[in-house]
Amino acid sequence: MMNNKSLFIAALVVGLFLAALFSRDGEIILLSMPFFTYMMFGILKFPKKVDLIVARTLKRASTAPLEPIEMSVLVENADISQAILSLQDPLFPSMRLLEGRLKQPFLLAPGDQIVLKYAFSASRGIYSWKSVRIVASDPFSLFELPLDIPASAKILIHPELMRLGHIPIRPRFTRHIPGSIPARLPGSGTNFFGVREYRAGDPLRRIHWRMTARYPHKLFTKEFEQDEVADIGLILDTRDLNGDHPGGESLFNHAVRATASLAEVFLREGNRVGLLIYGERMVPLFPGSGSRQLHRIYNCLAQASTRRSIPLEYLDYFSSRLFPSKSLIFMISSLGNRDLPAYQRLCAGGYQVILISPDPVEYAAKKMPAAQINALAFRASKIERYIRLSQLVSMGVQVVDWPMDQSLNSIIHESFSNIYLSHRRYAGR
């Protein structure tokens, strides 16, 4: 195949021919001889077919955003003649080259192999390669033979995690499997739960000696609160609620990061976690536990993106099928105008709902130039959001209002450590 270079040389040769013709000067034709032989050599040396074996290797199968990822592309010449090749392995638009070259010409003798290495970083997503583009050419790269050789690889860039400590949740219902959530039941935990009369078989070290001393002829035993695991549902709202809002995409990325971090914390503590990515494209993931479930969640979240806004009413079809009844649901959403009835129905269905709501009003105000912010409009938006959150609190939804300039960890701990304070913040005024 001809490229710009060979077309340019061809144009020069033709131009010189025409100039010679019009000027009737034979010496001008002779001026084109070096260009002509140069082009003819390219034609003669142009490879018609090249047999290559290519393999692509990624050092990791999954990683965090902006972490360096090393890619190796091995090329082996299975042909009987020497080949002048150029490897062209372009990056995806959201990737950044950190080290090495993406376009590298090289010479490969028959049977020889070479490994091209480069390092890049990428943002959240799943990236897959199916082939490698290798261009065989003549020594002057005048004529090129592009070859797309199958060499697949795939990498998952999971959402960047936020540092979250233990979240002191108190679900109304727990599964009777030992875990880390206080179950409001006597058992073998570590928190003091109460005192009861001694029963045969109780260990002596659990005898409550003070109470026993107070009531002679009777023995009393200390009870501890059973720690169990819970069913937790995470719902990530991917609806485009903010429209052309400045920093809308970034706000969504924060929500994705929060969802991934919550999943990681809850799964680390042994809970069963399910996920629903709610938006124009629903992605349900049934509850499960362990590192495999975490990987599945990362996989789903890696592909999450904001879509056209749809009503939250459709949530009813999913919640009952996906999450066990009475389970704890974490909704990560910036909250739409008409979402309240859906929350009401979730609460009525017996779910314990916690809303983690990134604050789009404050976030937009910080991203926009000060001159563009209308103070009245900003205040009205704040009041509107405040009213909506207050209504949710009165329905029984626990609200974690998340200003984006603060860490989610501190906001969650502040909200969960004194649930009544946060309740009073919205409902009491």
Binding site: M2, V14, F17, A20, T37, Q104, P139
Partner: protein, 166 residues
């Protein structure tokens, strides 16, 4: 590789010298203005694609060489100059492709560069030799024959190119 690094500059310098001497012998010293012109052109086009900038320079060189032939300057100098300009153009483009090679590719690039410079010198020498030999032949054909031959050559060339493009 040192040879590849200096080839573009040496050949560019020699080609410019050929042009200056050729025009100087004919007492067209205005050609010396080409040096500041090239510097100014380089300054204004330093941010554009190197391939484009070099191609414009090569075309300008060929136009000057054709003008030189038309005003009866030394065809030997013009032809040698054009060949050197082609070497400079090709080796500059090639060196940008293989520069910054590291590790395993550095060694590979060196063999590629050696092969490239060898092939380039052979090809241009053959072309130049053919051109210089052609200067010693003198054929006097009527214009009609020349026109038909030229048209045939261009058509053949065009068909060949179309075949290659396909």
């Amino acid at each position: 590789m040192r040879t590849t690094r200096f080839t573009p500059w040496i050949s560019a310098l020699l080609s410019a010298t050929c042009l200056i001497i050729g025009f100087g012998l004919g007492r067209y010293w205005e050609i010396l203005f080409i040096i500041p012109a090239i510097i100014v052109y380089w300054y204004f086009t330093r941010k554009t694609s190197l391939e484009f900038v070099l191609s414009i320079l090569l075309v300008s060189y060929i136009i000057l060489a054709v003008l030189g032939l038309l005003i009866q300057l030394s065809p030997y100098l013009m032809m040698i100059g054009c060949s050197l300009a082609l070497i400079s153009w090709e080796s500059t483009l090639f060196s940008t492709k293989v520069s910054d090679a590291s590790g395993l590719f550095r060694q590979n690039s060196q063999s590629l560069e050696t092969l490239h410079i060898r092939d380039l010198l052979i090809v241009i020498s053959i072309g130049l030799l053919l051109g210089l030999m052609g200067l010693n032949f003198s054929l006097h054909l009527p214009f009609g024959v020349v026109a038909i031959l030229a048209l045939l050559a261009i058509c053949g060339f065009y068909r060949g190119l179309r075949f290659l493009i396909k």
